[in-house]
């Protein structure tokens, strides 16, 4: 366990060394949120509520889903793909830790860093300009924190899966890109799932994507209440566990057929 904590710490410090890059990141995320805020204001166009959400809730939804993205987002899929392409993975595999576990921990270190140095100051900055009224109920925040932890796990698991596929295809830039678009669209980042037509919502129930952004954001806007929160968290938890199965299977097959390119 200690060694994994150490990995989180190292990655965190590594990011800290490059923190100047994140000052611009804060600004740019803020511009992003503001632009979506204006887009949604135009979409609401004076309407009180759309799909049961007021403009006020939508503002929080947009702000939180972007700032949460800073936390759960990571590039471990690309890192794995690169390490496979460049053959580094061979040396990683003989080290005394789980390769996938290490990658996840690095992602977590990155996430914690961004949470502290990008999301929090970013939210503060946005709150200066936009009418953000956050919920005051402590329980809402506790559910949110739990939910966002699940978001990280689901997103990382999907990244690991996409990364492992590189073992078989050797170059899967296309798959990684496609995965990003699918997650942007179906996680609820750019559009709450409740806005989709009913048939699309029904289909999305069978995929893990809304566990990444939609559920935590709906919890924090208090659009989910009571049983809906529990159902949402349960949905996330089930997917966290379910996704372990394909990772296990693929990983076992991948190690067997590992081909290191070059010498």
């Amino acid at each position: 366990m200690d060694k994994y904590m150490e990995m989180i710490r190292i990655r965190f410090l590594m990011m800290l060394a490059y923190r100047t890059n994140y000052y611009t990141g804060i600004l740019i995320y803020a511009i992003n949120i503001a632009a979506y805020y204006f887009l949604w204001s135009a979409i609401y166009g004076g309407k009180q509520t759309m799909q049961g959400m007021s403009m006020e809730q939508m503002t929080i939804y947009v702000a939180i889903s972007w700032m949460a993205r800073a936390f759960y987002f990571n590039n471990i899929d690309r890192e794995i793909a690169m390490e496979i392409r460049e053959g580094q993975v061979a040396t990683e595999l003989i080290r005394p830790y789980s390769y996938l576990g290490m990658k996840t921990m690095q992602g977590l270190g990155e996430g914690i860093f961004r949470l502290l140095f990008l999301s929090l100051p970013g939210l503060f900055l946005v709150a200066l300009f936009l009418p953000l009224r956050f919920p005051t109920d402590v329980h809402t925040w506790m559910f949110f924190i739990l939910s966002i932890a699940f978001s990280f796990i689901i997103n990382s698991e999907l990244n690991l899966l996409a990364g492992i596929v590189t073992f078989f295809t050797l170059n899967n830039e296309g798959l990684l890109r496609a995965k990003r678009f699918i997650i942007d669209l179906f996680s609820g980042l750019i559009l709450p799932i409740s806005f989709y037509p009913d048939w699309a919502q029904a289909v999305m129930k069978y995929f893990p994507f809304q566990g990444i952004s939609y559920i935590p954001s709906m919890i924090v806007t208090e659009s989910f209440r009571g049983q809906a929160i529990i159902d949402g968290l349960l949905f996330q938890f089930v997917w966290c566990v379910l996704l372990l199965i394909p990772i296990r299977l693929l990983w076992r097959a991948a190690k067997k057929q590992l081909v290191v390119q070059g010498g």
Partner: protein, 261 residues
């Protein structure tokens, strides 16, 4: 002339490498189409709940998006410099480029060419024809030339901003996350500029002029007279921003000392 022949030689090499990995090429086409689908889905879903966006109809917004895709495709095909810092500065590839008797930016552009992105322009034109037909737009004979001019202007604006960002690597070799985030910002030029606060409107017009890639030139074809002035500025802004970027690039190259030994 020399540059033209270099261009075609690179192009030939490019074709050879791409056709070597045909499956990759297909996947890239599909992923390009998906990125366009994401935005289309957003628009279509939103217009399932409202009929007007600040006075703009669904088809007008679709038309703007279709137009935006064309200069964006041209940019994506020739200015694929997202990973300039990592590929050329950190790994020292820039040293190799600089030893050759062709302008360094020209070489970098050609080495990173991705002609398959041009397919996005075709999608854009299909969307424009679809939306334009529903709007019953009438075109003049000279509109085709204006279209080409606006597309080039838009692509140059994009190129200017991203080349300028890439030159940051000459001054600081730290990893930077500006580029992917700038990509997010650039998307806002696709929506009617009047929905934004005037500060954002100002930024999108004069500082990061992405509005000139989408909404301004597109409003000319949509017959929105109030934006004509901006529409005709598109090629001029493109030339100005690209010139600034080339100037920064040259200044950066002078300062470049190479990485490592």
């Amino acid at each position: 002339m020399f540059y033209v022949s270099v261009f075609f030689q690179y192009m030939a090499q490019y074709m050879k490498t791409k056709l070597q990995y045909r499956a990759d090429l297909l996947v890239e086409f599909v992923s390009d189409l998906m990125s366009q689908a994401v935005n289309l889905v957003f628009l279509l879903v939103v217009f399932g709940h409202t009929s007007l966006l600040h006075g703009w109809t669904r088809d007008e917004i679709l038309f703007i998006y279709g137009f935006f895709l064309v200069p964006y495709a041209v940019f994506g095909a020739f200015f694929n410099i997202w990973d300039f810092n990592e590929r050329y500065i950190v790994r020292g590839e820039m040293d190799r480029v600089l030893t050759r008797p062709v302008h360094s930016l020209f070489q970098v552009i050609l080495e990173r060419m991705e002609l398959e992105s041009l397919l996005g322009g075709v999608t854009g034109m299909i969307i424009m024809v679809y939306a334009g037909a529903r709007l019953h737009l009438s075109l003049h004979w000279y509109d085709i030339f204006l279209f080409i001019l606006f597309v080039l202007g838009g692509a140059l604006i994009y190129a200017g901003v991203f080349v300028a960002l890439a030159t940051i690597s000459f001054w600081s070799d730290a990893r930077t996350s500006i580029m992917p985030m700038m990509y997010n910002i650039s998307n806002y030029g696709r929506y009617p500029i009047d929905i934004y606060h005037r500060v954002i409107r100002y930024i999108l017009t004069w500082i990061l002029p992405f509005a000139f890639v989408g909404v301004y030139p597109a409003s000319y074809f949509l017959g929105k007279k109030e934006w004509y002035g901006y529409a005709f500025l598109t090629p001029i802004m493109g030339v100005i921003f690209f010139a600034i970027a080339v100037f920064l690039w040259n200044a950066g190259v002078k300062r470049y000392r190479g990485a490592g030994n």
